[in-house]
């Protein structure tokens, strides 16, 4: 065995790579459980690709066959129901992991120098995930699939000059139809493989600058770090166990909890559902899109721009945050802004879930108003974070010199 390894290592240093990048990779000894969610997201990615591969063997990307082929998977394919429910709920848990992963980065300042490129690659992955999830949701070809696809692709028509032609090009016709479904299937198959590639670059960038940590200071290798294995392999495995318990609960006992009932009705271009709602992980952005309705003919374009900007603004976060301290643990004002931002994201999600003409207290507070205020709060996080750090308004508490 060792002779074979020697032979290989002389030609391709596998052992050295595993040692330096995995088993002996120096990892901050103070990482808390919020640092588990990167590996958890990777685990879900693997689950999604594995189940998706087998689903693709039985699925038919054809407007006349798609809905029934999903039911064929549910009923006739051995453990097809397991594949499909793992895949459908996997999307939900992918976004749970990724949202916590992003918020952890925001709270502990993981986007700060020298980790900007690592952070940017992460945002690129997030954009790719959203695209993949959106196109995946279209594939069962139920009512919500169809009308969700219609609403979202229609947004492209807001783009000046080329918008209308662009939508026709995306649809492959003059409405969401068979060509749209077919190409969405192809892209839904392709994108995750590209995501894997970008994840490799994400890990490369991580290993170049090493992990941030809850204290947010630069660490002394050896004194402040532990080898990744066995300390963090076991911690990651423990996290996976806990995460999988919750995931399995939904897969086996409440698999339809996140699936709109309407999506069990086959797509019908002639009948619009009463409420078109996207999947829960898009709701906050959907609320931002709808919040801008006061600009007349430009409302649609402005809404789309605001929606894209709400995520794209994360790209400049490393430059907005001017504090000398990375971790919000020592930054009282930033910490408060952060939690307002998080709670506000839930409010946005709730606004996005409800019909646009809904209101609270018998019409006294229209939901669209709450949506506008929440959208303002969402963006003001970034402005205020910049203000309090650039103008030295925030006085950070003392930060330990070492762990």
């Amino acid at each position: 065995m060792s002779k074979i390894m020697e032979w290989i290592d002389a030609r391709l240093p596998v052992t050295e790579l595993i040692k330096s990048q995995a088993t002996e990779y120096p990892t901050p000894k103070n990482l808390n459980y919020w640092w588990n969610f990167g590996s958890l997201a990777l685990m879900v990615l693997i689950i999604m690709i594995a189940t998706g591969l087998f689903l693709a063997m039985h699925y038919k990307p054809d407007a006349l066959l798609a809905f029934n082929s999903v039911e064929h998977i549910m009923r006739d394919v051995n453990y097809g129901w397991l594949l499909r429910y793992m895949h459908a709920n996997g999307a939900t848990f992918f976004f749970v992991a990724v949202y916590i992963h992003i918020l952890r980065g925001m709270y502990y300042g993981s986007y700060r120098a020298p980790r900007e490129i690592l952070w940017w690659i992460g945002i690129v992955i997030f954009f790719m995930l959203m695209g993949t999830a959106f196109m995946g949701y279209v594939l069962p070809w139920g009512q919500m699939s169809y009308w969700g696809a219609a609403v979202i692709t229609n947004l492209m028509s807001a783009i000046p000059v080329v918008g209308e032609d662009l939508v026709v090009w995306i649809w492959g016709g003059f409405a969401v139809a068979d060509p749209t479904l077919n190409r969405f299937f192809v892209l839904h198959f392709l994108l995750p493989l590209l995501v894997v590639g970008v994840v490799v670059v994400h890990l490369w960038a991580l290993h170049a600058v090493h992990s941030n940590n809850p204290v947010g200071i630069d660490l002394h290798e050896g004194k402040d770090t532990l080898p990744f294995h066995p300390y963090f392999t076991i911690k990651d495995l423990y996290g996976m166990g806990v995460f999988l318990i919750v995931y399995c609960y939904f897969v086996f006992f409440a698999p339809n909890a996140f699936i709109e009932a309407d999506n069990y009705i086959p797509a019908d271009p002639m009948q619009t559902p009463a409420h078109i709602v996207p999947e829960w992980y898009f709701l906050p952005f959907y609320a931002i899109l709808r919040a801008i309705d006061f600009l007349g003919a430009y409302s649609k374009l402005a809404g789309v721009v605001a929606m894209v900007l709400s995520i794209a603004i994360l790209f400049i976060l490393p430059f907005l945050d001017r504090s000398p301290v990375r971790s919000f643990r020592y930054r009282p004002l930033s910490k408060q802004l952060f939690w307002i931002f998080v709670v506000n994201a839930f409010v946005l999600g709730w606004v996005g879930y409800n019909p646009p003409d809904a209101s609270l207290f018998h019409g006294a507070v229209p939901l669209i108003l709450i949506g506008r205020v929440s959208t303002a709060i969402y963006f003001s996080y970034f402005v205020l974070l910049w203000l309090i750090t650039a103008l030295d308004i925030e006085k950070p508490r003392p930060v330990p010199k070492s762990l």
Binding site: E71, W81, F252, V343, Y353, A358
Partner: protein, 282 residues
């Protein structure tokens, strides 16, 4: 810690509000029924599902299809091959056919103005699920309620007292008398009123009533029993693999408990091997 608590409280509040918001508008919430197949380890009441299959084939399939199920698959509920054959013959089909009704789509559209929806997934495809389907089947006016409507419409005038009575009898969430009158006029014009259907008027005339068919096993054939049984059957038709799904984890646990995790000493001496082994097991 305090922040986390505030955060959790906020999440809770945010998820509770939509329920309050939802209840205030639209059709009334279907009353919750007791379904043995719901819950963590619930299994289908096979006897009820068998009776429900009889209701579905003899009544529902007069107009609706249950096309994702084949007659032969009914044997999973405990029907014999001969019983399946005779059920299929009710709709002029053979046992290898899909459960499509005798009426074709064009004839149905002529008769009702709309193609009756396929029932294969009906308990999953409507909010309220089994409770909703059950409520629809029981949501038609009783004789007493029909008499009340006729009494009110006799003088073409709705008094305050009558408006209140109508609201509680028809489960209408409005005190607008014009609105009430519109509904009553459609009703007396022959349209079918349903308390739980959004908008109250569906194209479906009351499909089930007391004593409509006689059960092969002699069970009481009240409207409540017929609709409970047929919904149990439709829930099975919507997801025949449900029992397999719910029992799957228990089987895995039984298998895992056969082995045991490696002792701490092994962990210390052979961490890599234990790690790789665990990964493979995971």
């Amino acid at each position: 810690m305090r922040l986390i608590k505030t955060f959790l409280a906020a999440c809770f509040a945010v998820t509770m509000v939509p329920m309050a918001l939802h209840a205030a508008s639209g059709a009334p919430q279907p009353p919750a029924q007791n379904w043995p197949h719901q819950g963590l380890f619930g299994t289908f009441d096979k006897a009820s599902a068998k009776r429900g299959a009889q209701v579905a084939v003899e009544i529902c399939m007069g107009c609706h299809s249950i096309g994702l199920v084949k007659f032969d698959q009914l044997r999973k509920l405990g029907f014999s091959e001969a019983e399946v054959k005779s059920l299929a013959e009710v709709q002029g089909r053979t046992k290898i056919d899909r459960m499509n009704g005798a009426m074709d789509a064009t004839a149905a559209k002529d008769a009702f103005g709309i193609v009756p929806p396929d029932l294969s997934l009906i308990t999953k495809a409507r909010k309220g699920y089994e409770d909703y389907t059950y409520a629809i089947l029981n949501g038609y006016l009783t004789d007493a309620e029909t008499a009340l409507v006729q009494k009110v419409m006799a003088d073409k005038n709705i008094s305050e007292q009558e408006a209140l009575e109508l609201q509680s009898a028809l489960l209408i969430n409005t005190d607008n008398k014009e609105h009430l009158k519109d509904k009553l006029e459609r009703l007396t014009g022959g349209a079918s009123y349903n308390k739980y259907f959004p908008g109250n008027f569906s194209a479906m005339p009351q499909p089930l009533s007391n004593g409509q068919i006689n059960y092969a096993d002699g069970t009481e054939n009240s409207l409540k029993q017929l609709s409970h049984d047929v919904v149990t059957f439709l829930a099975w038709a919507a997801e025949p693999t449900m029992e397999e799904r719910k029992s799957c984890l228990a089987k895995i646990f039984a298998g895992v408990r056969g082995g045991s995790s490696p002792p701490a000493e092994v962990w210390r001496q052979q961490p890599t091997k234990v790690f790789l082994l665990t990964l493979i097991l995971v």
